[in-house]
């Protein structure tokens, strides 16, 4: 897998090739198991014929010993063959899962475009698993083919006409069953889907429990669910009836087929063409062969699903990156001078802006979309359509996005918290410089797992920095109110905290990361005014001497900036202090004070 843009076929092939030993061992042993299973009915026939029919005790002992050997063989080959196959399937799925997450988290971004997180998570679990299962399907297919061949050889050796009846009859039988059940299957699938709708509605109502309770709509919701549930019951019953009919038909067809084999075989036996034991073997084999043939139909279904899943996985792995990696070495040490030269992006029109090292700059945008465009350019999540953003005189475009983010941190107002304690979240980025080597961007999408740092344990926190950050962002009081303080676990991506608490923890994390340039976006929208004023002072204090850009319309924050830039209609209209802008511009007053 040399290319970094794999197709679905590459993904599927890679998944099998990566596990070729497991698949080979599994196929070989699986074949042995099937051959053994095929021998059991044959041996029953032989025992009846040679021992029971002739009353020969030594023949009985001999053939029971043979049967024992066959059992030991089939049992062991099944056990170790299936284990090898399952392991291959699981490992292949795991590798794809890790490769997918690596691609999604890649500094160049782009994999999430047009895909919801839930959908991506499903690709990383379900689709990765389905592609992995293809290994098992290949193995089972080979094994079933062996079983079929062994059965065929034995049958044809017993009698060519009887063998042909069985060999041609079994596929016809399965085909007939398939044909009869196809319209039913179709209907049943559609109805199952409607049935699963009921559980979706229930989950949705439970997710909105607070909203329902707030407006006292519990009774209305229960009524609605009951209707959905009844509708889905009707659909499910129809599907269940269809399935029952299908099972019944398959049973009747199989029974009829056995009758034909017994009749033809019996006639041959009476005519002396085959022995009694061979008749018993033939009937047993006819029943046995239905097994491997059924395996083929689900192997086919698994392969089809695996192909579709592989295409989805390839779509993510090959998603174009939002920004191309650049090769220039990052400035060291970073002074923190940020310069925008003629930047046009989204709604932004030819922005020229000089941010001095160590300055606290406020940016008030009248249109939130302009603020978002500016943030994307500053964090190199996107390159401007025209013009350039420079850090210490080096255009960001020439730097690797990963290097840019070591120097410039853009902290979004809706930043996510992760599972772990409050403190874990805040110290998350404390130790990134130097400790974890930036990933090489040209690494292949399905790269080795060995490169992952499995530890992520011991922190080398600069003492005091996290406490300072927590104090500045007003997290200390949150921690004080919690039973286990800063060591309280944050669950459900921060949902266990209120919106305001979440924002403050996220801000503390951004402050603790201590990057040379910090860009903060609306960090206090869900924070009350008292705390906001305190946080404004805290940010100013902790960022002393380091470049800080506040993109916000909060007057408390803008009031403490050295300069404030007013961004209106995509252009910089004025640059002055908060108080002066309040005096001079109606647009500013509307945006900030209202």
């Amino acid at each position: 897998m040399g290319a970094s843009d794999p197709s679905g076929r590459d993904v599927l092939r890679g998944a099998i090739r990566g596990q070729r030993r497991g698949v080979a061992v599994g196929s070989l042993l699986g074949a042995g198991h099937q051959a053994g299973e095929a021998s059991v009915p044959v041996l029953i026939g032989v025992v009846i014929d040679q021992a029971v029919g002739k009353g020969d005790l030594s023949a009985l002992l001999l053939w029971l010993a043979v049967l024992a050997v066959v059992y030991v063989g089939l049992s062991f080959s099944f056990r170790f063959g299936a284990r090898a196959g399952e392991r291959a399937a699981e490992q292949a799925g795991h590798k794809l899962r890790v490769a997918l997450v690596r691609r999604v988290l890649d500094a160049g971004g782009g994999a999430e475009n047009g895909r919801l997180p839930g959908a991506l998570a499903t690709i990383a679990t379900e689709d990765a698993k389905r592609v992995g299962v293809v290994n098992m399907a290949v193995m089972s297919g080979v094994a079933a083919l062996t079983g079929l061949l062994v059965g065929a050889v034995v049958l044809l050796r017993i009698s060519v006409p009887l063998g042909l009846i069985v060999l041609l009859g079994t596929p016809v039988l399965l085909w007939l069953g398939h044909l009869l059940s196809k319209p039913l299957e179709h209907r049943s699938e559609a109805e199952q889907e409607r049935a699963s709708h009921a559980s979706g509605v229930a989950a949705d109502l439970v997710a909105g429990l607070r909203v329902l309770k707030g407006i006292g709509a519990e009774a209305a919701a229960v009524d609605r669910y009951r209707r959905t549930s009844r509708d889905s019951l009707v659909a499910t019953l129809r599907a269940a009836r269809a399935e029952a009919l299908q099972s019944g038909m398959v049973l009747a067809l199989t029974g009829g087929f056995i009758a034909v084999v017994a009749l033809v075989g019996g006639r041959l036996a009476i005519a002396g063409d085959i022995t009694l034991g061979e008749l018993v073997s033939a009937v047993g084999l006819a029943l046995f062969l239905l097994g491997p043939l059924e395996v083929f139909s689900w192997v086919n279904a698994d392969l089809a699903q695996g192909r579709a899943s592989a295409a989805r996985i390839a779509g993510v792995l090959a998603a174009p990156r939002d920004v191309a990696p650049g090769g220039a070495p990052p400035p060291a040490p970073v002074r923190g001078a940020v310069r925008l030269r003629g930047v046009s992006h989204g709604g932004l029109r030819e922005i020229d802006l000089d941010v001095r090292p160590g300055e606290v700059l406020g940016v008030a945008a009248t249109d939130p979309a302009d603020a978002a465009a500016l943030l994307r350019c500053l964090g190199r999540q996107a390159d401007p359509d025209a013009g350039a953003v420079e850090l210490d005189g080096v255009p960001l475009r020439e730097l690797d996005p990963a290097d840019v983010r070591m120097a410039i941190l853009v902290a979004d107002h809706d930043a996510d918290l992760f599972e772990g304690t409050l403190r874990d979240n805040i110290t998350a980025a404390l130790d990134t410089p130097g400790r974890t080597a930036p990933d090489a961007p040209e690494r292949t999408a399905l790269g080795d797992l060995e490169r992952i740092d499995p530890a992520g344990t011991g922190r080398t926190a600069v003492p005091g920095r996290e406490e300072d950050a927590m104090r500045a962002a007003g997290v200390e009081e949150i921690a004080r109110a919690l039973a286990r303080g800063a060591d309280t676990a944050v669950t459900e991506r921060g949902r266990s905290l209120s919106g305001g608490q979440r924002q403050r923890v996220a801000l503390a994390r951004a402050l603790a990361a201590d990057r040379p340039v910090l860009v903060v976006h609306d960090p206090t929208t869900a924070v009350d005014a008292v705390t906001e004023a305190r946080i404004a002072a805290g940010i100013r204090e902790i960022r002393r001497g380091r470049t800080t850009i506040l993109v916000t319309t909060s007057p408390s924050l803008l009031a403490m900036a050295d300069r404030v830039v007013l961004l209106d209609q995509g252009r910089i209209v004025d640059t002055a202090s908060h108080a002066d802008l309040v005096q001079r511009h109606t647009a500013y007053r509307t945006a900030v004070l209202a």
Partner: protein, 597 residues
């Protein structure tokens, strides 16, 4: 165990979950659910027994044909048993169809009743209890457990019923041929019984761990993928890839443990198969030699036993599914059979209120010994709009929740009480929180949850009032556009407007609004503030204010600090008073740069 793993483990526990039923409670509850369908149950069982019994005629007929061959009967004699075989097949097919559809009708109907009861009770659980358990617990039950039980009802139950019937009746048929064949076949039973016990003992805890690991993996994926932007901004790529790798590897390892267990289980079953088969063949040998059985009987017995392999294996494997389903069922019944939650006084009885709210001497503690409210007195006059201002942790949200009846105060009283209902069944007090949820389905259905009988005109009027009609009508299918999970995505501000429209439709005399504008950003916040004002027009309203403009336009401002009310009065009065509110306002309106706090 490495440190991260220990951490992961600790987070998976550490919760007070919702009730789970004991097996006796589960059985009792199921009996109540099945009772109305007794006839159906009896009919289904009878037909399935018949179907299985008919199928068992196959092997003796085959045996009879073997006897005919052995005794060199004329070729024509084979025709009758062959025709009978076909008839048996048809009869078995028809009766199996009927039996399966009867059984699945029983299962599905009971399942539907169960899930309805579950949802009904779940939606009426006290919110405090749900929050303590984590909303994930309830969600997991309503998705995971319901579908697990449904799967069991749909596939495992009929299959298990068929297998068990096949096993019992086949053993009976062996006895009919000759009781000594049955005796021989039963030699396999001790091995199977021991294997099954051994398997269940090991499998149940293992699979429980496997499910926890799969859930943790899913959560981690959602965490890392959903937060990809943050991960990149903070350069946490390696850390998060590592986390996913650990979770995924843990899930894979547990799955492989499960696979190894199942495979060892099958190995032991192979031993049982061989033992039984050899014993039946040996019995056949001696019975035929002594003349007490024909070759055909020996053949039929061997074929019977060979045909038992499949149902025995599937019954033993399904035991495991049944165990899982029973665990899920216990969690469903735990909620479904819980006593319906009604607070004092008894609901249904319309309470006379005067649209005023009186809070007297209220104190509250979520955990004993950690009070968050102290002795709060507050009166909201009918039609008055009161803004609640204060730092985070001052107790605003708690007070709002107590007034909205989400929690009961630890001490003191709130009037009107929680369950107060108007004559038309609507709630006296409605609460709009920062919770952003849109109910999946057409937009109109979402709104009708607040007032089920609302006409289209009512809906449009409500949307218009909160400034949402323009965008709502511009949606691809207007009010019929499917929104929410999997549907058209709405912005945070639109979702908040919907919440306000629901409030208008629910039309409660008293409204409590908490952080309703918090997530919309400043520009959106102003639109929402106007919408909010119109939505609470004519209602007694308590607004937890985050933007001080909301306080400025309220009839009265109440300032809280440290769980107490510290200031109360109109905006102008408080500004003039020079207290905490005045300082806040000056800082906020930018008339002074950095205030001392």
């Amino acid at each position: 165990m490495t440190r991260p793993e220990a951490q992961d483990r600790a987070q998976d526990q550490d919760r007070e979950l919702l009730p789970t039923a004991t097996s006796r409670e589960t059985r009792a509850f199921l009996r109540v659910l099945v009772r109305p369908h007794r006839t159906l149950a009896a009919a289904g069982f009878t037909v399935m027994v018949g179907a299985t019994a008919v199928g068992l005629v196959t092997q003796p007929l085959l045996g009879h044909m073997v006897d005919l061959v052995a005794t060199h009967a004329p070729v024509a004699a084979l025709t009758l048993p062959a025709v009978l075989l076909v008839l048996v097949a048809v009869a078995q097919g028809v009766s199996t169809s009927l039996g399966l559809s009867l059984i699945s009708r029983l299962g599905e109907t009971v399942l539907a009743r169960l899930r309805e009861r579950f949802v009904e009770r779940a939606l009426r659980l006290p919110l405090g209890q749900v929050e303590k358990a984590g909303s994930g617990d309830l969600t997991a039950r309503v998705t995971g457990d319901v579908s697990q039980v449904a799967d069991a009802v749909r596939t495992a139950l009929p299959e298990l019923a068929r297998s068990v019937l096949a096993i019992v009746l086949t053993l009976g048929a062996l006895a009919v041929i000759d009781w000594r064949f049955l005796l021989a076949a039963l030699l396999a039973v001790p091995i199977q019984a021991h294997t099954a016990r051994w398997y269940v003992r090991n499998a149940v805890p293992l699979y429980a761990r496997e499910r926890v690991a799969a859930g943790a993996q899913q959560q981690q994926l959602l965490d890392s993928i959903g937060g990809a932007g943050t991960v990149r901004a903070f350069r946490l790529e390696a850390e998060h890839t590592g986390r996913v790798t650990r979770r995924s590897q843990a899930a894979v390892d547990l799955t492989m443990q499960g696979v190894r267990l199942v495979l060892r289980f099958y190995s032991r079953l192979h031993l049982a198969e061989y033992t039984g088969l050899a014993a039946v063949l040996v019995a056949g040998f001696f019975l035929v030699r002594s003349g007490s059985a024909t070759i055909g009987a020996a053949t039929a017995a061997a074929l019977y036993f060979h045909s038992l392999f499949a149902p025995i294996n599937s019954a033993l494997v399904l035991m495991d599914d049944a165990q899982t389903a029973l665990a899920g069922l216990a969690r469903l019944v735990g909620v479904a059979a819980a006593r319906p939650y009604e607070s004092t006084p008894a609901a249904g009885e319309p309470q006379k209120t005067d649209n005023a709210v009186t809070v007297r001497g209220v104190g509250h503690a979520y955990e004993p010994g950690r009070p968050v409210l102290h002795d709060v007195d507050l009166v909201l006059r009918a039609g008055e709009r009161v803004a609640l201002v204060g730092a985070s942790g001052a107790g605003k949200t708690t007070l709002a929740k107590l007034i909205a009846g989400i929690h009961h105060p630890t001490t003191g009283s709130v009037h009107p009480p929680v369950a107060a209902r108007r004559g038309d069944g609507g709630r006296e007090v409605a609460l709009v929180t920062q919770e952003l949820h849109v109910f999946a389905g057409p937009l109109a259905d979402d709104l009708r949850l607040a007032r089920p009988g609302a006409t289209d005109d009512d809906l449009c009027a409500a949307l218009d009032l909160v400034d949402a009609l323009t965008w709502a009508e511009a949606l691809p299918d207007g009010l019929l556009t499917v929104v929410g999970e999997g549907g058209h995505r709405l912005t945070a501000a639109q979702v908040q407007q919907l919440a306000l429209a629901r409030l208008v439709l629910a039309d409660p005399p008293i409204a409590v609004l908490d952080e309703a504008t918090a997530e919309a950003g400043s520009t959106g916040a102003r639109v929402l503030e106007k919408a909010t004002e119109r939505a609470i027009e004519g209602r007694t309203a308590l607004i937890v204010a985050h933007r001080l403009t909301q306080a400025a336009t309220a009839d009265r401002v109440v300032v809280m600090d440290g769980g107490r009310i510290v200031e109360s009065g109109t905006h102008d009065e408080l500004r003039a008073a020079g207290g905490p509110y005045a300082a806040l306002w000056e800082a906020w309106s930018g008339t002074r740069s950095t205030p001392r706090t």
